[in-house]
Structures are given as structure tokens and as C-alpha cells.
């Protein structure tokens, strides 16, 4: 009897944890959705800011975030998949692959602001790219690189060895096997990693603080070396700079809603792809918790 009461209390406690967690998080999303919706309009999405940030839209920030995100993926995708292929197919079991694996894991745990410092030191200063789309994209690319590497690695690992054997046994070369059998099979998993990476890159602020972002920029960026506005940084700037806090907050709500929607969409898409293909060859990659 006593045991039963303890069990009931314990389970009630666990349920309470779940409920509180769910309420907190649902509350935040709801709060942002309700307040953000008032700011949203066609004009908000397509017009540039007006009157010193207190009116108009956030189109340049959306465009800037798009550029930065795409830039980071263009950089991180080939490098990440290449690194994973090296680890999984060319050096598996070797000492070097262990070392690289550890390095990648640790890279994933590096705070995002430190990536920002790195970008500032290397891209902005040393390579002379300045505060620009290029510097920001590269910095964000390095930030999402570990996630793409580990997602790709897991995806490659999930490709049955028997496919590889079959291909090699017919006389395919290693590269033919990788290109025609292994990579296509691993594609959904790699894609999942990339989409999660896009979501992450779109929402990160600290790495672009010193490498790419501008509070206000007239017009749209016209070269890789332009400074850009970006959604997450725009939220920060609206809340901490400027002269009209009330109106700026309303705009920030709108930005926050767009950002949350974008990131949630990306995550859902990634989860959907992963679940759809999970059954095919074992489990798809998981999110990199370290990141």
C-alpha cells in the first residue's frame, strides 16, 4: 500500500515536470505568436525599415538572413560531407579518424560567441574580408560544420555494408561506390543534418555580431563584401538601440515570429525527412546535442 502511494506521488511529480515544461514553452511560443501577428503584414515582409526603425518592414533583414544562411551552407555542406566521407570511408578505424572525431565533437561545444571572435580574427581582420556577408557566412558555416559532419557520418554509417560489398564485388572503384551507392543512400540523413544546420545558422546572432551584421543598411546588399541586416540581430538591435522603444518592440515581435516560424519549419522538415527514411536503413541522424 505504502509503495503504491509513493509510486503515485512519484508519477504525479514526473507528470508535473512534463506539464510545467510544456506550459512554459507553449506559453512562449503563444506569446510571440499572438504579439507578433499584429506586426505581420505584406508590407512588413517586403518593405525596408522607415523612420529610424520605428516603422516600415524588415525585408532587408530577411534577405540578409537568407544570404548568410545560404552562404554558410554552401561552405559547410561540401566540407562537412567530405569530412564525414573521409572519416567513414577512407580512414575508418584509423588513429587519425579518432583524433578528428574528437576535434569535431569539441568544435560542436565551442560557444557561438567564440566562433564570432574567430571570424573576426581570421575573416574580418586577417583575410581582410571586412564586416561582410562573406565573413559572416564563413563564420556561420564553421559553426554548423560539426553538426553537418556528425549527421552525415551517422547517415553514412547507416548504409548497410552489404551494399558497399556488392558494389565493390562487381568491380566498382571506391569512388564509384561512394558516389553511386553510398551517398545516395545516405542522402536523406545528410539532408536532415543540413536542414537543421540551416535552422541553426538562421537563428544565431553572436557569430555575426562582429562579422556581418549591421543595424541599419540602406537598400539590399549588392556584393559578398557588403554588411547586411539579419533577422536575429535585428531583434537585438531593436531592443537595445534606437530612439523609439515602443514602436521598435512591436517590430521586434514581428521579427521574432518570423524567425521562430522559420526555424520551427526547418526542424519539422528535418524530423519529417528523418522519420520517413528511418525505416529504410536503420535510424537517421539525431540532432547534435552538443551544438
Amino acid at each position: 500500500m505504502k509503495n503504491k502511494i509513493i509510486q503515485a506521488c512519484g508519477f504525479a511529480l514526473l507528470s508535473a515536470c512534463m506539464i510545467i515544461t510544456a506550459l512554459f514553452l507553449a506559453g512562449i511560443i503563444y506569446f510571440i505568436a499572438v504579439n507578433g501577428r499584429q506586426a505581420l503584414s505584406w508590407q512588413f515582409l517586403t518593405a525596408p525599415p522607415l523612420n529610424g526603425m520605428s516603422a516600415g518592414g524588415v525585408a532587408p533583414a530577411i534577405v540578409g538572413t537568407f544570404y548568410l544562411t545560404m552562404g554558410s551552407v554552401i561552405f559547410a555542406l561540401p566540407l562537412g560531407v567530405g569530412c564525414a566521407v573521409y572519416l567513414q570511408e577512407y580512414s575508418a578505424g584509423g588513429r587519425m579518424s579518432d583524433i578528428i572525431r574528437v576535434a569535431v565533437n569539441n568544435l560542436a561545444g565551442v560557444p557561438s560567441v567564440v566562433f564570432g571572435l574567430f571570424g573576426l580574427g581570421i575573416f574580418v581582420k586577417f583575410l581582410g574580408f571586412g564586416v561582410s556577408i562573406l565573413s559572416g557566412s564563413l563564420t556561420l558555416g564553421i559553426l554548423i560544420l560539426p553538426g553537418i559532419i556528425s549527421a552525415s557520418q551517422e547517415a553514412l554509417l547507416a548504409v548497410p555494408v552489404s551494399f558497399k560489398e556488392a558494389s565493390l564485388a562487381i568491380g566498382a572503384t571506391k569512388w564509384q561506390t561512394i558516389k553511386r551507392i553510398i551517398l545516395p543512400c545516405a542522402l536523406p540523413g545528410i539532408l536532415t543534418g543540413v536542414i537543421l544546420g540551416i535552422g541553426r545558422a538562421a537563428g544565431e546572432t553572436a557569430p555575426i555580431l562582429f562579422t556581418a551584421a549591421a543595424f541599419y543598411k540602406r537598400g539590399y546588399p549588392n556584393s559578398l563584401f557588403s554588411e547586411v541586416m539579419a533577422l536575429p540581430y535585428h531583434i537585438y538591435a531593436l531592443m537595445t538601440e534606437g530612439v523609439n522603444p515602443e514602436k521598435q518592440t512591436a517590430i521586434a515581435y514581428g521579427c521574432a515570429l518570423i524567425l521562430v516560424a522559420m526555424v520551427a519549419l526547418m526542424s519539422s522538415l528535418a524530423i519529417f525527412i528523418r522519420n520517413k527514411y528511418r525505416s529504410a536503413y536503420g535510424n537517421g541522424p539525431r540532432r547534435n546535442y552538443n551544438a
Binding site: A166, L168, I170
Partner: protein
């Protein structure tokens, strides 16, 4: 170990003092085996005797396992396949392999077969189509699948998948085909079909088959090699090995004393 007189003909593949190690484990000990052209040679023996290890050496699939080492020679078409200058790709095109579990690629039936010719650089669509058709016919699968060449290979039954894998191996025109327990995961009817197919294929190909089913060995093979604990205990014409085994171990194994 003694050879039957009849066994001394020109072998297609010949191993000479072949030893193989997994790390410190001595998996194959001094194997001297002749695989005769256009004949079926069966490798039998209890599990763990090294028969699968041996068959994976002939096309050097063993390279995929790390920390292994081979000593001795495997002679094929005048060269030792362990030579540094051996072109693995060429070797594997000459010596095809069918695995224990059917392992079609997650592609269409057509793409599974066309893969081989395509990776060899063939771009001629007609040629590839004919090669696919011919291979599927040789594998006795054409009539089953000719109407659904472009559907996924993963939708086929296990027996059909295994025949597809055979067709895939045939499509690169090998001279030798290695079968590593090809019926291990199949039902009796599919097994019978594969056996029938092997008997048909031996007219044109040299075949080596690993099986732990002694009846299968006696049904399909011309020569039988019995292995035990990494040693080649007995080798000879199948009829002879099964009726008058010379070695006591062989006799015990065949009569089911151990297995």
C-alpha cells in the same frame, strides 16, 4: 593430404600455401586448393572452419576487414592476386560474388543490373539494355520481372532478390563466380531454383560455392573441399568425397557426428 588423380588438371584458380590471420588469430592454415575451370567446387565444413574467410580471399573482399594479413599465393590467370600491382577492380570484374544475404541496391531492378556495365564506362543505352536482358535471362529471372524492370528491387521476394544479385554479378561478364552460402536465408523452393541455376551456369562459368548444407554440396558440386579449424582436410571429386572419404574427420562430419 592426397589429391584424386582426376583432380590434377589445369586449375582456374590455385592457392599455394595460403595462410590468413585476423590479428593474432590464424584463420587459414596452409591451404593448397585447385579450383577447376567450368566446374562447381563446394567448400564445406562446420561453422567457423574458415570456408567463408577463404572464399572472400579469392576476390580480396577480405581487404575490407581491418587488421588482417594473408600469406602465400592465390594464382589466377598467371598472376598472384596478392601482388601489389594487382588491379582490384579488374580482379573483381573477373571474379564475381554472390553473398549470403541477398543485397540488391535500393534502386530499380534495371538499375541494379545496369550498374555493373555503367561503372565500366559503358554509355550505350541499347547495349546496356541488352546486357540487362541477357543477364536476367541467364539468372532465370527475366520472365518474372520483364514487366516491372523499373520498379524497386526491394519489393521482390528473397529468392528473386538473390537471383537478381546473381544477374547483377553476371552483367559484368565474370569468369568465376563465388557463392557465399547463397541459400542461407532462402526457403526450400527458392533454394532449389538457385541450385538449378548454378548447374546451368557452370556451363559457362567456374563456380565456387560455400555451403553448410551437405546435401546441397552433393547436389550441385563436382568437387568438394572439406575444411576444419582452418585446415583443408580433404579435397576431391564430390562423389568420391561423399562415398569414400579418406579422412576420418571428413567421414565424421558427413555422417553428422559434429557440425
Amino acid at each position: 593430404m592426397e589429391m584424386d588423380p582426376a583432380a590434377i588438371t589445369t586449375p582456374k584458380i590455385k592457392t599455394e600455401n595460403l595462410n590468413f590471420f585476423y590479428g593474432g588469430f590464424h584463420a587459414l592454415k596452409n591451404i593448397n586448393l585447385n579450383v577447376h575451370e567450368m566446374q562447381v567446387t563446394a567448400l564445406i565444413g562446420p561453422s567457423g572452419c574458415g570456408k567463408s574467410t577463404l572464399i572472400r580471399l579469392f576476390n580480396r573482399m577480405s581487404d575490407m576487414t581491418p587488421k588482417t594479413r594473408a600469406e602465400g599465393k592465390i594464382m589466377f590467370e598467371g598472376g598472384n592476386i596478392f601482388d601489389a600491382k594487382t588491379d582490384l577492380v579488374k580482379l573483381r570484374r573477373n571474379i564475381g560474388m554472390v553473398f549470403q544475404k541477398p543485397n540488391p541496391f535500393p534502386k530499380t531492378i534495371f538499375q541494379n543490373i545496369s550498374y555493373g556495365p555503367e561503372i565500366q564506362g559503358c554509355k550505350d543505352k541499347d547495349f546496356i539494355y541488352h546486357r540487362v536482358e541477357e543477364s536476367l535471362k541467364k539468372a532465370a529471372l527475366w520472365d518474372d520481372v520483364k514487366t516491372r524492370l523499373h520498379s524497386s528491387a526491394l519489393g521482390m521476394s528473397g529468392g528473386q532478390q538473390q537471383r537478381l544479385c546473381i544477374a547483377r554479378a553476371l552483367a559484368v561478364e565474370p569468369k568465376v563466380i563465388l557463392f557465399d552460402e547463397p541459400c542461407a536465408s532462402l526457403d526450400p523452393i527458392s533454394t532449389a531454383k538457385i541450385e538449378e541455376l548454378i548447374l546451368e551456369l557452370k556451363k559457362n562459368y567456374t563456380i565456387l560455392i560455400v555451403t553448410h548444407n551437405m546435401q546441397q554440396a552433393s547436389r550441385v558440386s563436382d568437387y568438394t573441399a572439406f575444411m576444419y579449424l582452418g585446415n583443408l582436410i580433404e579435397f576431391g571429386q564430390t562423389d568420391r568425397v561423399f562415398t569414400v572419404p579418406k579422412d576420418k574427420k571428413t567421414e565424421e562430419y558427413l555422417s553428422g557426428v559434429f557440425g
